[in-house]
């Protein structure tokens, strides 16, 4: 079985891991177009080469980042997301239109 090196738990069988998709910069959810949001959520580039991905170590519920070559399927490096995400990501709620307020009132 393939072995993946989890930054928290060490080398483990790949059956303990779940793929979480490519790591990409999130567009501003309040101001981006639907196409940009769909591109972020659903579509992947499907390129050959080294890509940066989210992976989950399922038994510990631990998300980390891996750099993987899509051709050879070799995992080159795994690391804690704190290397990239240094502060909490905050979301501001989109202001609802006044029309919907009238309907619910």
């Amino acid at each position: 079985m393939k072995i993946i090196n989890c930054p928290l738990n060490g080398p483990r069988n790949s059956s303990e891991f779940v793929h979480g998709g490519e790591l990409r910069e999130m567009p501003d959810p309040n101001n981006c177009t639907d196409r940009e949001w769909a591109d972020y959520v659903f579509y992947s580039d499907n390129q050959i080469g080294v890509i940066t991905e989210w992976w989950l170590h399922a038994p510990s519920g631990y998300w980390f980042i891996a750099e993987r070559h899509t051709g050879s399927d070799e995992i080159l490096r795994t690391y804690d997301p704190s290397e990239i995400f240094t502060k909490r990501v905050e979301f501001s709620a989109k202001a609802e239109s006044s029309q919907s307020e009238e309907i619910t009132a």
């Binding site: 303990e16 399922a58 038994p59 510990s60 704190s82």
Partner: protein
Amino acid sequence: MTVIKPELFHSRSFIYRKHRQAEFAEVNGAAQTLSYAGQDDPLTGLIDLSVLPRFGLRGPQAGEALIAAGLLHPQQPNSLTVSDDGVMILRLGRTEYWVLALPNAAAERDLDALQQQLSGPGIYPVYCHDSYTWLALAGENLADIMAKVCAVDLREDSFAPGDLVMTSLARVGGIICHHQMAGKPVFSIFSDSASAGYLWDALLDAMAEFEGAPAGQNFLLSSQ
């Protein structure tokens, strides 16, 4: 005198129906198995501790709150501490901890009060009581038994007392914690409550060739 049975309580172990031949005592508003009737102590025992009190906390302030409360703080993720009065603390990540009362402390320590004390800004609760089953595997040949269901090397030289691993065992996710009680090595196993019955049977099956059998908490408290 009323005979204590799991059915007397609303709070029950997920696998209380498996303990037909057992004697119980009331702990934490539920029935804890004390011993299995008509049975000598086995070489290796599997004990259901699911009803014992425990809670979890996580967040940037969680570690400092544990230290401020005078509890033993595990230095590294994937390690644990056990205090003299039987409070076990697991460190499951950089900022996630579980606090548990071992059988010798479950009656005395008020974990509800401790949980109140360990709250505040930067600390979030983690629910680990009703969602996780707690099984303890204690006695001889623990690493050999676990080798049949788990891919991680759990022999003493790579998995010392005070270590814990989060991995899959018998194909379900779980946390395995190595500690000692009454001079016996103990592997405390935490796994999703939904698969508790399956895991109980799978571990008993793995133990069978090592003369393992189900037991109660008295097995953990009596020295060999």
